[in-house]
Assembly symmetry: C2
Homo-oligomer: 133 residues x 2
DNA sequence: GCAATATATGAACATGCGATCAGACGTTAA
DNA sequence: TTAACGTCTGATCGCATGTTCATATATTGC
């Protein structure tokens, strides 16, 4: 196979190349790097989207909302099988990232999913889970 | 509005009701609870799927594979902008969860995405990111 | 006013996880 | 064989995150 074909990679895409690392296919690396979204975008995707779904309790809350439509905190807590304080903390997080929204009526707070991409991701995930191997 | 309509909820779905929590709409809670996947399924989804995507470095690795097709460790490291040891650790994790697969050729290891749901999730996420608000 | 309820918040604690370093393993060329 | 190389692994450290308890805020009914 083609050994390390040439000299050191000058990681051409961006101006600064970190170190002198030897690459197998520098051209392809450059292409791939150029296709990646900006760092902030990836961070937001990882922490702000997938990170929120990476917890069983939050997942249960969101799936409950996907199924139930609009639920108050205590019903959500019961549905997800968690304490009300933990539920409130979780909903606060989800609210901060615009994944759920609140409607307040007296001392009750009714939560529901924001229309958006997370809903689609949840659907895809559940779809897969249901007729899974 | 309907106050707490009746007595304490006897959370009818499963046999054991944890505590005496008062619910607003016990019937709907039961319906929602019944619709949720089993605990192990939710855990696997959270930890084994979304959890793997909840890290910017792993996301970059996977997006690199989605774009580049099949890449060796050092090219992946360069693409994602991370060290080779960290890359190897990350790939080990992804491999354990059947998200990526290896082809070994001599001392090189070429990684690629397993065909599957993660690929779809990645596509959905990237789709959204690209024409985002 | 007061008490009870529904939710929200803050702080403390434990646990887990990612980054890093040093070294091990298997492979190739000399 | 030795040496260079690509990759993998284990151990450690420090930070982030979820859980819990206690309390705060807000609203309803007495």
């Amino acid at each position: 196979m083609n050994m390390r074909s040439d000299v050191k990679a000058s990681a051409g895409t961006s101006s600064l190349d970190e170190c002198e690392v030897r690459l197998v296919d520098p051209a392809r690396v450059d292409t791939v790097k150029a296709s990646l979204p900006a760092a902030e975008v990836v961070d937001e995707l990882a922490d702000g989207v997938f990170g929120l779904l990476a917890d069983a309790n939050r997942l249960r809350l969101l799936m409950s909302l996907l199924e139930g439509g609009e639920l108050c905190v205590c019903d959500l807590a019961a549905s997800a099988g968690m304490g009300e304080s933990a539920t409130s903390h979780a909903l606060r997080l989800l609210r901060a990232h615009r994944v759920v929204k609140v409607r307040r009526a007296g001392r009750m707070a009714y939560y529901s999913l924001c229309d958006g991409h997370v809903r689609l991701l949840l659907d895809v995930a559940l779809e897969h889970v249901r007729h899974a191997s």
